[in-house]
């Protein structure tokens, strides 16, 4: 494969993953051949190895697992050949890596900052070891060079970062002719918390709690992925019951978020009755969470080595009963939406991402499955309870809002089935490690199919078992750019609907 015969190391743990070291010169060739074989870029990040040494890291999804490429960069020359022409989603990842760590992608199509926002000086890189993670003195706001479109009758509509509703901040710059969108340029990064810097030198047990807070609506997915990474380094499996319970909570998280999204998708077409009906269901499920585990959104349920709460028989029964009610109600609402001509008119052919475009740009997760990108970690690389449950993947080929709604409905029903299955076949035994294995240095990955799509975590623990580098990647990072393509040719008032049909995380992408 490469001239220097890289060391390929299989990582232990539930995720099928291999780590290998690749030289900077071989990186592009390797990526190109991998791309030809159908590989997809999951994440790109960097790490400070001390004394002006930096490593570049790439995670590629390949047939049957995950390849983690580590590319040591020469001292005092932290640059690497750009990969955004190979993998489209590398564009923003490269820019973010430059903003945070100063690794330069040579020959990249874009050199605009991504996360920096003038919050720290151009020559300072907050993720480097020398930086202390404290806030920088306030700088003058630097203008972001938006892509402009010229021509007769073209004008710009700036929206955000503060929006009229209670949603996360992001700036959208539309270039329009009349109502038709010619081009959308997005500026994100307003919720950059420096969470990766915060994680450094934390103990793994603390890290799990932090991981659940990268994106609040994907707390189970984020914490589980990080737990997978730590457990892979420690080389010890979690009790089987714990894995089943984790999957149960992940499906509950998916269920709750899908119900909420379906409600929003009704609201955005002015069907407020549908909104309140879906949100009543979501609220029921949230209250069940509160009564079962004490938190509506299941924060801190995933712990290192298991879950916080083993369920009692009565808890299981109440969950089963709720599944039946939810299934009946959601079926009724699905009929209502499907037979509503006004709603269907808004959904069909709106914000279309063709399968070809989706494949070219690397659309994944829920939105990807609505554009015929058949990738669901629960099916493609199933871990313990999912392998037994034989998850049915929901896919559509239309790639419009209607398809994303349909995938959500399918996944709601599948999640309900899985929840029932998990409860029925729940193995007995402990749901948490009784004793902690000794901490040690090492690297590990986590990879979980959250409700939006995959959540990836790469972790390196130092000699005392403290976090050296932790890099979480929400699927939103890869999918946000595709929203810009999805709205092209649509009309301005349809943007909120299209945006909601993706419902990507700002916090998850901003890091």
């Amino acid at each position: 494969m490469t001239t220097s015969m890289p060391l390929v190391r299989t990582l232990s743990g539930v995720v099928p993953a291999w780590q290998e070291t690749v030289s900077r010169e071989d990186l592009r060739t390797l990526c190109l051949t991998q791309k030809e074989r159908g590989a997809r870029l999951v994440s790109l990040w960097g790490s400070d190895e001390g004394e002006e040494n930096f490593d570049l890291h790439l995670a590629l999804a390949v047939q049957g697992g995950l390849r983690w490429l580590r590319v040591p960069l020469p001292p005092h020359d932290p640059s690497y050949p750009a990969l955004d022409d190979v993998f489209a989603n590398a564009n923003r990842l490269q820019r973010a890596t430059h903003d945070l760590l100063g690794l330069l992608a040579q020959g990249a199509a874009e050199g605009r900052p991504w996360l920096r926002h003038g919050a720290w000086p151009v020559d300072r890189f907050p993720l480097r070891k020398g930086e202390d993670g404290q806030a920088y003195p306030l700088l003058e706001q630097e203008p972001y060079p938006f892509v402009t479109v010229s021509g007769q009758g073209v004008h710009e509509i700036p929206v955000g970062p503060v929006h009229a509703g209670i949603i996360e901040p992001g700036h959208f710059r539309f270039s329009v002719v009349g109502e038709r969108v010619l081009r959308l340029d997005t500026q994100l990064g307003y919720t950059h918390k420096g969470i990766e810097k915060r994680a450094e030198s934390l103990a793994p047990t603390e890290l799990i709690h932090l991981a659940g807070r990268v994106s609040g609506d994907s707390t189970v997915a984020g914490a589980w992925a990080t737990a997978q990474a730590v457990e892979s380094i420690l080389g010890r499996q979690v009790p089987e019951r714990a894995e089943w319970l984790r999957a149960l909570w992940l499906e509950r998280e998916r269920l709750v978020n899908h119900l909420g999204d379906l409600g929003y998708l009704c609201n955005d077409v002015g069907l407020s009755a549908g909104f309140s009906l879906f949100w009543a269901l979501k609220e029921t499920a949230l209250r069940t969470h509160e009564s079962l585990v004490g938190h509506r959104y299941l924060y801190d349920q995933i712990l290192l080595g298991g879950v916080a709460q083993g369920l009692t028989v009565r808890d299981c029964q109440s969950l089963q009963a709720e599944c039946a009610t939810l299934e009946r109600e959601v079926h009724r609402l699905q009929d209502l939406l499907q037979e509503h001509a006004g709603v269907q008119d808004r959904y069909l052919n709106t914000g279309r991402v063709t399968p070809e475009l989706a494949a070219r740009l690397g659309l994944v997760g829920l939105a990807g499955r609505a554009s015929a990108q058949a990738w669901d970690l629960r099916v493609s690389c199933p871990t313990v309870p999912y392998a037994q449950a034989e998850v049915r993947m929901a896919t559509r080929a239309q790639g419009d809002v209607a398809a994303r709604v349909a995938v959500r409905f399918d996944e709601v029903f599948e999640s309900l089935r899985l929840i029932r299955y998990f409860i029925e076949h729940l193995p007995s035994g402990p749901s948490l490690w009784d004793a902690f294995p000794p901490l040690r240095a090492g690297v590990g990955v986590g990879w979980v199919e959250g409700w939006r799509g995959e959540v990836f975590v790469a972790l390196e623990l130092g000699a005392q078992g403290q976090v050296r580098r932790w890099h979480p990647e929400d699927v939103s990072m890869s999918n946000w750019p595709i929203l810009e393509h999805a709205v092209q040719g649509n009309i301005v008032p349809d943007f909120p609907l299209i945006n909601k049909s993706f419902n990507l995380s700002y916090s998850g992408q901003d890091g």
Binding site: H155, V159, E179, G270, A273, G342, P496
Partner: protein, 315 residues
């Protein structure tokens, strides 16, 4: 014209202005009920107005006097229009002053000023809203005029007063042309008042707004006046609908109990139709903006059909 007539004229004006927020509140209550939500109290719109009147007015630095004048002008236009429509009694001094075409003109005047004021500050949303408002209204206006012409042809007059008394004099008849005109009028009513399926008065999504986008720059008493004028506009359209299509109950006598009966009937009609509007809004989704021309085209077509039917069938 006697003093009593003028007093009644003034009474109707005050009644209309005071009643308008109540109608908004009533529609809001029904919308909430139909969405399984707990409804705000009926007097919520008054509280809203009270709150806004006590708030400071913040005006953009780039604003011209147009922005300040518009709320008063808008409220004035709506107030005047409200006095021209026979709501309870037909024998009002001002009811014969103008015909329906002037009425449409008055409504247009208000709209033009609102749209100009929206573009005044120069924000993207203001001009976006103004642009959309003009798209909707230039299509709605001809449909509204055709509806008026249908009813005018039936009564051989474009004066609202004679339209109403014309119906009353002839007693109860079923006019097929009125059925078409009625549907067209309802469609125009929804479009002109920014209701679903054309606009969503409750939305927080700035990119989808029409009416709300135009008034984003307003605050304090200016916003209060605009909101109030908006409520008044809904009342005006309702009263117009009653005058044209449900004229029963309106009285031309000046006897106390006759007026009371007419007033109760008017309130009853508002109660029923307000709830009806909420039902209509709840069961329909908001249309894609580019469907609005089709929608208003249909309204215009129905109105044209109505007038054709009238001449084909004879009255």
């Amino acid at each position: 014209m006697t003093l009593v007539n003028w007093l009644l004229q003034g009474g109707q004006e005050i009644l209309g202005i005071l009643l308008a927020p109540l109608l908004m509140g009533w529609v809001g209550i029904w919308r909430a009920w139909l969405q399984n939500r707990q409804a705000p109290p009926l007097i919520q719109p008054y509280r809203q107005l009270f709150k806004l009147f006590h708030k400071e007015v913040v005006i953009a630095e780039t604003a011209s006097p147009l922005l300040r004048v518009t709320p008063y002008l808008l409220f004035g236009c709506m107030g005047l229009t409200a006095s021209l429509i026979p709501m309870v009694i037909t024998d009002l001094p001002l009811a014969g002053a103008v015909d329906v075409i002037a009425l449409v003109g008055l409504l247009s005047l208000a709209r033009v000023f609102l749209a100009l004021a929206a573009m005044d500050v120069g924000t993207a949303f203001g001009s976006l809203g103004a642009r959309r408002e003009m798209l909707v209204s230039f299509l709605a206006e001809p449909a509204l005029l055709m509806v008026f012409f249908t009813v005018a042809s039936l009564n051989a007059s474009t004066s609202l007063r004679f339209m109403v008394t014309g119906f009353a004099a002839r007693g109860f008849y079923l006019y097929p042309s009125l059925a078409f005109a009625g549907v067209a009028f309802l469609m125009v009513l929804l479009a002109e008042n920014g209701r679903i399926p054309v606009d969503n008065p409750e939305t927080h999504l700035e990119l989808t707004m029409i009416h709300e986008a135009m008034i984003l720059e307003y605050s304090g008493r200016h916003l209060a006046l605009i909101e109030w004028a908006n409520a008044l506009k809904l009342l005006i359209y309702f009263s117009l609908g009653f005058a044209l299509f449900l004229p029963f109950g309106l009285t031309d006598s000046l006897q106390g109990w006759e007026i009371l009966r007419a007033l109760i009937l008017f309130l009853l009609k508002l109660t029923v139709m307000g709830a009806g509007l909420a039902v209509l809004e709840t069961i329909s989704a908001k249309q894609r903006l580019f469907r609005v021309p089709e929608y208003l085209g249909t309204a215009f077509l129905l109105a044209v059909l109505a007038i054709l039917l009238h001449y084909l069938l004879g009255s």
